[in-house]
Symmetry: C2
Subunit: 106 residues, 2 copies
DNA sequence: TTATTTTTGGACAATATTTGCTTAAACATA
DNA sequence: TATGTTTAAGCAAATATTGTCCAAAAATAA
């Protein structure tokens, strides 16, 4: 069992797929993408996109928001991994988002 | 006076420049980039890069880390602005970064 | 073992995005 | 006005991403 933070998006969807004993071939076909592309997504060597995430959500019956949170947090993590001030950057981004939200409520 | 969250990176460096009454022309020359490129950076229509951020840090005597935090938090904010779960995504990213840090300490 | 299926990695063209630059117009100020 | 400053649009070159194919590697079944 893995906490969400201890596993990448790719590893996560591979887990889901293997739990159901589905080959890449089948899932890729459902998603209408190449087998090797899905393989790469599971190894975090290619990006997923909205459409793929939706498809995965249906195939594995996982809330789309859960997948999105996993996917996007991965992307951000990767961007900040070499930064000294990663955590601080996230805190400031949080403030900025809250500020924007508040503004848009007016 | 603006809190960091209430102002973009571009607006921030424009403020710095105007406080010192420097024209784009001069700052751009110091940074060795085109005037119109700097104009766009200040309007958040172009990306800055490491070199430009370093240059700005010297010109305005601001800690490079301060500029980087501002710049990168802006980028992340922009990525998440249309997401329902922006804040949650940041929280998860934070956990992931902490996990990575902890792992790399071993 | 051999045969079959699954997974991976490399390559490639097509597309999309970013960059650096030029130019001219808009704007501001003296 | 005229002079300096800022902006917008456009463009080619560079860079990155995408979708696809294929063959080799790895895993599994016979």
């Amino acid at each position: 069992m893995s906490k969400i933070a201890n596993i990448t998006f790719g590893e996560y969807i591979r887990q889901l797929r293997e739990e159901e004993n589905l080959p890449l071939r089948k899932v890729a076909a459902e998603l209408d993408i190449d087998t090797s592309t899905l393989s790469k997504i599971e190894k975090n060597e290619r990006n997923a996109n909205e459409q793929i995430i939706e498809g995965l959500s249906k195939i594995f019956n996982i809330e789309i928001s859960v997948l999105k949170v996993h996917y996007l947090s991965d992307k951000i993590t990767y961007q900040l991994l070499d930064e000294e001030n990663g955590i601080e950057i996230l805190k400031v981004a949080e403030q900025k988002i809250k500020y924007h939200k508040q503004q848009s409520e007016k």
